[in-house]
Amino acid sequence: MQSTADANATDPLALAETWTREGRDVALATVVETWGSAPRPVGAHLVIDSEGNFEGSVSGGCVEGAVVAEAVEVISTKKPAMLEFGVADETAWRVGLSCGGRIRVFVEPVRRDPAPT
């Protein structure tokens, strides 16, 4: 349908593929668990490149900054990470969800290497 092209421009999974094919180093963040009134549902994605560019949303803006910072780390180490955010979670990130919910976010690198060169 005509909306598909527009949707692809901001679809994190489509962008993760496009960016990786362009040669950028990319990580994908996914909301894997929520408690309480989390702003984005389980399965929501954020795509991040090594420069800190990102598209998508895992929390409607509350913790994206922290996820992006961690994703840049994941890209350089090539090791996935599990992040957890809650209300004013000061010890871990000094960021929190104003809505009072808690979320768990899985961040993984997109690997290019097994693909034929």
Binding site: M1, S3, T4, R21, V32, G43, F106, P114, A115
Partner: protein, 234 residues
């Protein structure tokens, strides 16, 4: 995640094919696989969970037998509504269905009806339904409502919708019209069981009188079929 796996997942999503990406969260994300509804999962401990997730469309964590956490990224196509007939009911039903989250397409070969003025927003195909079946592929995540009253236009897409397993298939017309439709479609090879799936007389029984009210009634039955399964349709 491997780029090839991501490519296959994206291809399924853009092609309106359901798919589930399984990620082992404890295993540093290394063990990932893609499941399609056609895969033979006999003996797979995830089989039941996967079938449930394909129906609900909901992503989430599953504990596997050995205690490891698996994340299922579930992708099912967004529900789509195909309306046969650029008629008055459709004019009301298009915006209602769009608000409810459906991709909506209106198909009507009669150019007097199928005008952009009557259907602003680019959802209109002024073609015979048979001629656009590649463009608007019918699938189990699509609802079809035939609203023209004209068998020459309605019958073919109704047959196609039943054959494709569309989650809702409805047809406008009186009981008498519907009885004649039954004769024609059975003659054309539709099984009696498939024919019984048709929502006719169309729409929830709320005494709808105006075209807009009929649109509400039709949308109600479409949502019921989507959320509660075809077996609960009236």
């Amino acid at each position: 995640m491997d780029i090839d796996l991501l490519s296959r997942f994206n291809a399924a999503r853009t092609g309106r094919r359901p798919a589930i990406l399984v990620t082992a969260l404890d295993d540093a994300g290394k063990a990932q696989r893609l499941i399609s509804p056609d895969d033979d999962l006999a003996g797979d401990p995830l089989a039941e969970e996967v079938a449930r997730r394909f129906r609900s469309g909901k992503s989430g964590i599953v504990e596997s037998a050995d205690g490891t956490q698996l994340f299922l990224t579930v992708s099912v196509p967004p529900p789509r509504l195909v309306l046969i007939g650029a008629v008055h009911i459709s004019q009301a039903l298009v915006p209602m269905a769009q608000i409810a989250g459906f991709d909506v397409v209106v198909i009507d070969p009669r150019t007097a009806f199928a005008t952009p003025e009557r259907f602003p927003g680019g959802t209109l195909l002024a073609e015979w339904p048979e001629d656009v079946q590649d463009q608007v592929a019918l699938d189990p995540y699509t609802a079809v409502a035939a609203l023209t009253h004209d068998p020459k236009i309605d019958d073919a897409p109704l047959r196609a919708a039943l054959a494709a397993g569309c989650f809702y298939v409805g047809a406008l017309g009186s009981r008498k019209t519907h009885a004649r439709r039954r004769e024609r479609l059975l003659e054309a090879g539709v099984s009696a069981t498939d024919f019984e799936r048709l929502d006719a007389p169309i729409g929830a029984d709320i005494g709808a009188a105006s075209p807009a009210e009929i649109a509400v009634a039709v949308l109600a039955n479409i949502i019921r079929a989507l959320r509660k399964g075809p077996e609960t349709a009236s």
